[in-house]
């Protein structure tokens, strides 16, 4: 249906460079997630793709066509917003049909498309209601439905789950994933939540300070982070970074994920004292102040009985230790 190509897109707001040259290829039918901390430029990039913001320089191609100067409605896109952005004075049906009416689609086809997408999202009972009469989850489904009826080449999602509560977020995430399987449509999704990124994406684009840090499949980013930023951003709890000099390594920084550390109360590489333990049931997070490596976080699966003051020995999994040079780049 639609591929997306971004060529050297730059964006400045006055003296502030928000995007410093972004190149990206999204294949037809791919689900790509932009992830990064707030202020990294991911939303700006999405808005440039949508045409809601002009790029300072660079080009956007949708389905091989240069759309850099096309208005949003002519780009063949649909967008789902964080705040739902439903028209408050229109019913659900009118919310969904407005864009099609505007484009001059015949009424019969509008009705048929609305019927199809409202069935897909189980919105039929609500078609006559106004947004104010719907719950948050239903509103977001209407917003997705409004995108669906446009049958766009490209779906854009701007943090669509951020305004939902935790339980609903998991459900809607699942719905979006199913939608992608069913429609095989190209989707670009922006989030600051790495769990959403990992669970939904075919490919993740990690952005930081206006640059792409790394592009890759979720497991690729997890297993082979290109640099310190990606290593720290992907994975929860965060990867432990230890000064290489303390461990007698040549690398500037040594990284090891909390789940790749073995723990024993008898012997191990790093001896330390427990500062705090978080018992989550499925896993236990232990914060250990070690003599050799400083404060590290350890994630243990299942329940583990320990508490502040206890002495533990930690041993990192040597095969899963990452080394970074002085510039923060991954070594070897």
């Amino acid at each position: 249906m639609g591929s997306l190509k971004i060529e050297n897109v730059k964006k400045s707001f006055g003296p502030v460079d928000v995007l410093k040259g972004i190149d990206l290829d999204v294949k037809d039918g791919e689900f790509v997630v932009f992830v990064g901390p707030s202020g990294c430029g991911k939303s700006t990039l999405l808005r440039i793709i949508a045409g809601l913001e002009d790029a300072t320089s660079g080009d956007v191609l949708i389905d091989g066509q240069r759309v850099t100067n096309a208005p949003p409605s002519k780009r063949g896109i649909a967008m789902v917003f964080q705040t739902y952005a439903l028209y408050p004075h229109l019913t659900v049906r009118d919310n969904m049909s407005l864009g099609l009416k505007q484009a001059g689609t015949p009424t019969a086809e509008i009705d048929q498309r609305i019927a199809a997408s409202s069935a897909m999202l189980s919105l039929e009972p609500y078609l006559k209601r106004r947004p104010a009469e719907l719950s948050g989850g239903q509103r977001q489904r209407v917003a997705i439905g409004r995108a669906l009826v446009r049958e766009p080449k490209l779906f854009l999602f701007d943090e669509p789950l951020s305004n939902l509560d935790a339980a609903l977020r998991v459900n809607t995430r699942l719905e979006i994933a199913q939608l992608h399987h069913r429609l095989k449509a190209t989707m670009v999704y922006v989030t600051h939540d790495q769990v959403e990124a990992m669970t939904l994406a075919d490919r993740i684009v990690v952005l930081n300070a206006g640059r792409i840090e790394q592009v890759g499949a979720p497991m690729e980013l997890y297993n082979k982070p290109a640099n310190l930023f990606v290593a720290g951003f992907i994975g929860s709890p965060k990867m432990n970074f230890i000064d290489g000099a303390r461990l007698g390594e040549t690398a500037k920084t040594v990284g090891v994920r909390p789940e790749h550390i073995l723990v024993s109360d008898k012997a191990g590489a790093w001896k330390g004292t427990v500062i705090h333990a978080e018992h989550l049931g499925a896993d236990t997070n232990v914060f250990l102040e070690t003599e050799k490596a400083g404060l590290i976080t350890i994630r243990l699966f299942g329940e583990y009985q320990t508490g502040p003051g206890a002495t533990l020995y930690a041993t990192p999994d040597a095969a899963r230790t990452y080394r970074f040079d002085a510039d923060g780049k991954a070594m070897g």
């Binding site: 949508a50 917003f81 952005a85």
Partner: protein, 279 residues
């Protein structure tokens, strides 16, 4: 609301203050209305007493109806007020939308420039305005008044409305753009309905000074055909003799149309003033 905020002594105290203020504010209005129904002697003998069977007299209203063309004056006032109000709201809202929505060079400066009129009274420019109107042949037309009042009302309208329009969700406007709505339709169909309370607030604040104004009608449009109510009432105020019955009756009548317009806007107005404060 919490219990402490609605305790009895507090409620009584708050109401006492508000009632006192209401009494002070309404007193002159009541005196005018009450005395407009009294005979001339009764007005001066006991200005504060209510009309009795003996002192009740509609002479004031009769004079007003008989002399001059008061219906015409009312029409003039209403035309000027409604037309000015329409233009203030339309242009004020459009300017506010541009200032709050679009990034362009000098945006802030333009906003400040437009707001400057709040602090500088338009009457300072009376001589220049008069020269302008004479030069363009608009003296003694209602157009002159509408133009001046539109200019007078715009600064406050732009200032208040642009604050409110900044609060309208960007996502909503962007959703409209993606659905292919023009900027005009986004403005008229999406944004204006959402700032309706603010529009009502601006309408009331704009309307009352226009209706009550004596200065510009006196200077720009004093002819018989273009007189407004406030100017018409001056007929009865003479250098040596003032027909108080007629003046009071004319003023009482002049209150009515604004009162009606106010009721029309007030429901929205209260929402406008409290929005933000009360969620």
């Amino acid at each position: 609301m919490s219990k402490a905020a609605t305790s009895l002594p507090r409620t009584i105290g708050a109401h006492a203050v508000l009632l006192t203020y209401t009494l002070i504010a309404l007193f002159p209005v009541v005196v005018i209305v009450v005395n407009s129904f009294k005979s001339r002697n009764a007005i001066f003998r006991s200005p504060l007493s209510l009309p009795t069977a003996e002192t009740f007299d509609l002479i004031g209203y009769k004079t007003v109806m008989a002399q001059g063309d008061f219906i015409q004056y009312f029409q003039n006032s209403l035309t000027v007020t409604v037309a000015s109000l329409f233009f203030v709201l339309l242009f004020g809202a459009m300017a506010a939308f541009a200032l709050s929505e679009y990034r362009f060079k000098g945006n802030t400066m333009m906003g400040l420039y437009l707001a400057l009129g709040i602090m500088i009274p338009i009457r300072l420019g009376t001589v220049a305005i008069l020269q302008l109107m004479v030069a363009s042949g608009l003296v003694n037309t209602l157009t002159a008044l509408v133009l001046v009042y539109t200019a007078q009302g715009l600064p406050l309208a732009v200032f208040i409305l642009s604050e409110f329009m900044k609060q309208v969700s960007d996502d909503l406007k962007n959703a409209g753009r993606i659905d292919g709505l023009s900027e005009y339709r986004i403005f008229f169909r999406l944004v204006l309905p959402l700032v309706r309370p603010a529009m009502a607030t601006v309408a009331v604040f704009t309307m009352i000074p226009i209706w009550n104004d004596l200065w510009f009608p006196l200077i720009l449009a004093p002819s018989e055909a273009t007189k407004t109510v406030t100017l018409g009432a001056q007929v009865f105020i003479g250098q040596f003799v003032t027909n108080w019955n007629a003046v009071l009756a004319a003023l009482s009548l002049a209150i009515l149309p604004v009162l009606i317009l106010y009721f029309f806007f007030s429901r929205q107005l209260i929402r406008g003033i409290t929005s933000g404060a009360v969620k």
